[in-house]
């Protein structure tokens, strides 16, 4: 019993949990913002090549995480144009950093938010937005006072799904952010390594932590509704 308590309070156990939560929360917030804007834009505007753009945005959802990881390394790696620009900006390459894990989580979670937001906005009766326009609202006020509240259910469920997806992200994160204890080692990576090295107790503890976190999130939503 003592050893269990020691395990739970040990930095080895807690560190991946904090890292996972921080990454998922930050990635979740960013994804909610850009996913909502992208969803609104694509639900309301039509332009040439829209179908191609929409398909590209959904692509990370169907691609294997390893493919996403590979592409992230190619695009943001030390030798790429974007990678060098980031290195110049932050004084160090982004690959194998905490920020790399955030970026990987954003990429894989984005399609879920974007998809929910878009279908939420599409389900709004356009006459209601037009009524607000006639009532003197500008585009920003229509978006903020009419569209977002009316799509709020879809936006909330999109946010939950994205957060959960970011929390569960494994493949792309491992490839692009690596496994650096205390910096990029998230719960899923920690579980994988624990099993690999026969530390079943730790694996159990992290699995338990993951279940509890997920349960709490889902419960909050149910209570709020």
């Amino acid at each position: 019993m003592d050893s269990l308590l020691n395990n739970i309070t040990s930095p080895t156990f807690l560190s991946p949990i904090w890292i996972s939560l921080k990454i998922s929360i930050l990635a979740g917030i960013i994804v909610v913002i850009i996913g909502t804007i992208a969803g609104y834009f694509l639900a309301r505007k039509s332009f040439k090549g829209k179908a191609v753009v929409e398909t590209l945005l959904m692509l990370p959802m169907v691609l294997p995480p390893t493919v996403v990881g590979f592409l992230l390394i190619v695009i943001f790696g030390k030798n790429s144009w974007a990678g060098q620009a980031l290195t110049w900006l932050f004084d160090r390459p982004i690959i194998f950093t905490w920020w790399a894990a955030v970026l990987a989580a954003i990429i894989v979670a984005f399609p879920l938010m974007y998809q929910s937001a878009k279908s939420g906005f599409l389900s709004i009766d356009r006459d209601i937005e037009d009524a607000a326009r006639v009532d003197g609202a500008n585009d920003w006020k229509i978006f903020w006072l009419i569209s977002v509240p009316l799509a709020s259910k879809a936006l909330i469920s999109g946010a939950i799904l994205s957060f959960a997806r970011a929390l569960g992200e494994f493949g792309a994160t491992l490839m692009f952010a690596g496994n650096i204890p205390g910096e990029t080692q998230t719960i899923p990576i920690a579980i994988y390594l624990a099993i690999d090295s026969g530390q079943m107790t730790m694996a159990w503890l992290w699995v338990g932590a993951m279940i509890i976190i997920s349960f709490i999130i889902l419960l909050t939503i149910r209570v709020k509704e």
Partner: protein, 352 residues
Amino acid sequence: MTQLIFEHIFKSYQVGEPVIKDFHFETKEQEFIVFVGPSGCGKSTILKMIAGLEDITSGRLLIDGKEMNNVPTRERNLSMVFQNYALYPHMTVYQNIAFGLKMRKEKKTDIKKKVLKTAEITGLTNLLTRKPADLSGGQRQRVALARAIVCDNPVFLMDEPLSNLDAKLRTQMRREITLLHERLATTTIYVTHDQTEAMTMADRIIVLKDGSIQQVGTPHEIYETPANLFVASFIGSPAINVLNGKIESNVITIDGIPTIFSRKNLRTTKEVLVGIRPEHLIIDEYNSLLTATVEDLETLGADTIIYAKHNQIHLTIKAPGLLSFTKGDQLPLSIADEHLLLFDKASKKVIL
């Protein structure tokens, strides 16, 4: 005090022919104009162009002398009632009515005063804390009206506002909207497919078909001197009887009806279509011109609609009072020939 001018307005989309063709018209100040026509005639499109919710492809729209083509909706100072009301479902009745005033950044105390006054006029005082989902159809209609009148805009647009109400409520609201128009002194454009609404509410009616104006006129003019066969058939219930006929030196003959009418000034000789309104076929035992066989009957209470047949020609007759006939009864009829309408068979235009 506001006048709308439409100068040769066209509307087209990427494909197909224009949906609005050469819409050219001027309202008078404080006029109640009704756009009427079958679905797909473009009447709602014109309304949306006035509101700035649809672009004008070519031509000019002027409100009080100012070109509106590129003025955003929020700066056009107009109110609109939508067919399905388009209330803000997440706001209370109070917030729905207050929204437009808030957008204009009016003072909170002024907003409250105006909302309460409007709620009183529209009979919503007890419902201000409710959400639209908890209201009946008639109450939602009132909220939509209240939202439109609270801003006191000089132009009022209504897109089939009564089509979702039951018959009794529709008649009542028809009257209320007419009274409201008189009270507010706005210029109102009202869109409907219902010819009764058009006839009862309008100062002037614009009859539309396939994006083109068929006729502009007062309800009287539209009914008594329709410009063409379409207008004659669209306005009037039940629909006008249309029979084949001929004009030959001032004499009109109608196929299958053993009688002739004469009219001065008809010099042409041509095949025509003769329009006879159902109320102009009169049951008349003493001066009957023809005898028709009763086929069916609709009892409306104040009137009776009789569907009858004469020499393979179907006739609809509208007679005042509660009449009872049975199928097969012989009906002596005369024709109020001063009301005959003649249309060119080829162009379908009226012959005056």
